[in-house]
Symmetry: C2
Subunit: 332 residues, 2 copies
């Protein structure tokens, strides 16, 4: 058996291309005491990885990313053969996992929960939606919520969560008519629009003539400016930290109406989901029963085959996905 890894050959400019990467094959790593060999089953591709390609990720080294796999061989009692493990050694088919690494977790196998969900709705993606709406924006019943990148992993979770929390009206922005239809017809958004159709400021005002109370921001730029314009007094913006990380070349222009934050007593608050790991269990307990009952849908776009991981990543940056973008690796 061999292991395949995707390594960075050269630093991309703008959107990465297959030429920026090498698929490297090699022997499986030897299992050393305190570690286990995991065969990866699902790999996560996420926007924050784009910035790491500019500086954090060394050329020639396999990338680190969140993944879920099964233990093939173990030299530590905490990781048994057959266990399903969450770890961060992604962008390869197999990983040697350190049982002492606090980020390594053995996952319970739960009825109605697919392993891929640990990379999306049950992982940092779903938690980003939960922290943003509940802890940062402190959404209250009856309020109107606006969500940008609404058909993405965070957005699809956030829209359903807002509904569940009793939001009066849930509005999403996305990049195609088909995605907008999906949000309304399948996920219970009250309204969704394609931001390419007309200025966001006009479409948001039409969708929320009485204004919005909360904005969950994934994109900044014209969406942020439109949201500031539509927010009622004491409105809140939860600003997911990832946005700053993958606006690599030049960030979108700052909103021209920023001073309305002072005039309307708004709150603009950034957050990084990695600081909220202590809420992971609370979020899991909330959402798993609803995934089982079908009240909550784990929207995922799964790309089959490890050799398509670069395509999946580029597709994510282009917005090809609906829900969380995940790569599946067939078990050997």
């Amino acid at each position: 058996m061999t292991m395949a890894s995707m390594v960075l050959r050269s630093r991309p400019t703008g959107l990465p291309t297959p030429e920026n990467f090498d698929l490297v094959e090699g022997d499986l790593p030897r299992v050393v005491p305190g570690a286990a060999l995991v065969e990866n089953r699902y790999l996560s591709v996420d926007p924050y990885m784009r910035q790491l390609m500019d500086d954090g990720w060394a050329l020639g080294e396999p990338f680190e990313g969140r993944s879920v796999g099964r233990v093939l061989e173990s030299a530590d009692p905490r990781l048994a053969v057959g266990d399903v493990v969450f770890h961060r050694g992604g962008w390869r088919t197999h990983a040697l996992v350190d049982a002492n690494d606090p980020q390594v977790r053995v996952l319970p196998e739960m009825d109605g929960v697919s392993l891929s969900m640990h990379l999306g709705i049950l992982g940092g993606t779903g938690l980003t939606a939960y922290v943003g709406l509940v802890k940062i924006a402190r959404l209250e019943q009856g309020e109107t919520v606006f969500i940008s990148a609404a058909a993405g992993g965070v957005g699809t979770a956030a829209g359903q969560l807002a509904r569940m929390l009793g939001a009066g009206r849930v509005i999403g922005s996305t990049g195609s008519a088909a995605k907008a239809r999906y949000l309304v017809e399948e996920l219970g958004f009250d309204e969704a629009f394609n931001y390419r159709d007309a200025p966001v400021v006009d479409q948001l005002r039409a969708a929320a003539p009485d204004g919005i109370h909360v904005y969950l921001d994934n994109v900044g730029g014209d969406h942020l400016e439109a949201a500031i314009g539509s927010l009622v007094d004491h409105g809140r913006i939860a600003w997911c930290g990832a946005i700053a990380q993958y606006q690599t070349d030049s960030p979108p222009a700052a909103p021209r109406n920023l001073y309305d934050i002072a005039g309307k007593s708004l709150r603009l608050e950034g957050y990084l989901v990695r600081e909220y790991g202590y809420l992971q269990q609370e979020w899991t307990d909330l959402v798993v029963p609803r995934l089982r009952s079908g009240q909550f849908v784990a929207t995922e776009t799964i790309i089959e085959g490890f050799d398509h991981i670069v395509d999946a990543f580029v597709g994510l940056l282009r917005g090809d996905n609906v829900g969380k973008m995940i790569v599946s690796v067939e078990p050997s």
Copy 2:
């Protein structure tokens, strides 16, 4: 006895000039049931008034502004002759005050507290500092605070309050070397700089090489950008609402580093002091004993004579004042 009022003759462009105003003399108003005639003693001029000159204030009408005076004649038992009264009928020497107006308050005469203080340190100006640092930014002991317009009414109160709350380091920005010296030598600021000397970003970084935790913003623009750059993770900006009101022509450019709010988990929160009247007593109880003991200084610039009220207002907009700008009217 006659009454003098200052009325708006024409709408100013940029800085007002004396030609924009008329000083009108007339008979004292007749005291009707439920009202009292007040002889004004101190009048407030405030930045928010500049915007009212563009739209809210009718031409030919006397202006409304906060003032403190003494009851000369009364037709209501709640306002006795000789009482000191806070009311909003400013920009005139006398006012007919409605005893039913919830904004009209009889003020206790307190040892060590001059009547003018009710327009500054004990009024909305001091309360703006209190709400900003305590309720919005939630300043904690040992933290570094940066205050813009630090020699103004809000700034002088905020710097002393930050010191009192146990801030580790208090830094102020102001418009002259003399004011900067005053802040350090008289009010206990650790450091103060003249923003005209060098870029704010450089002066702030030199004054707070380890970064700042809290920024109390009165000005926006380059100060806001510098503060965002210097704020540590989870830093807070309390943004006083008045800023949006008197940036009449074109607001300062939005900061180019706005996306750091997401990346550093910052909180930018606007507020309007008029929504926090319920804290007035709490603030008074906190500061009055300290004014008496000399631990707290009520910094004021008092311009003598009602006929100089326009000069006082223009001087305020130009930054001539140290502390709260107030006009005194000699009792007849």
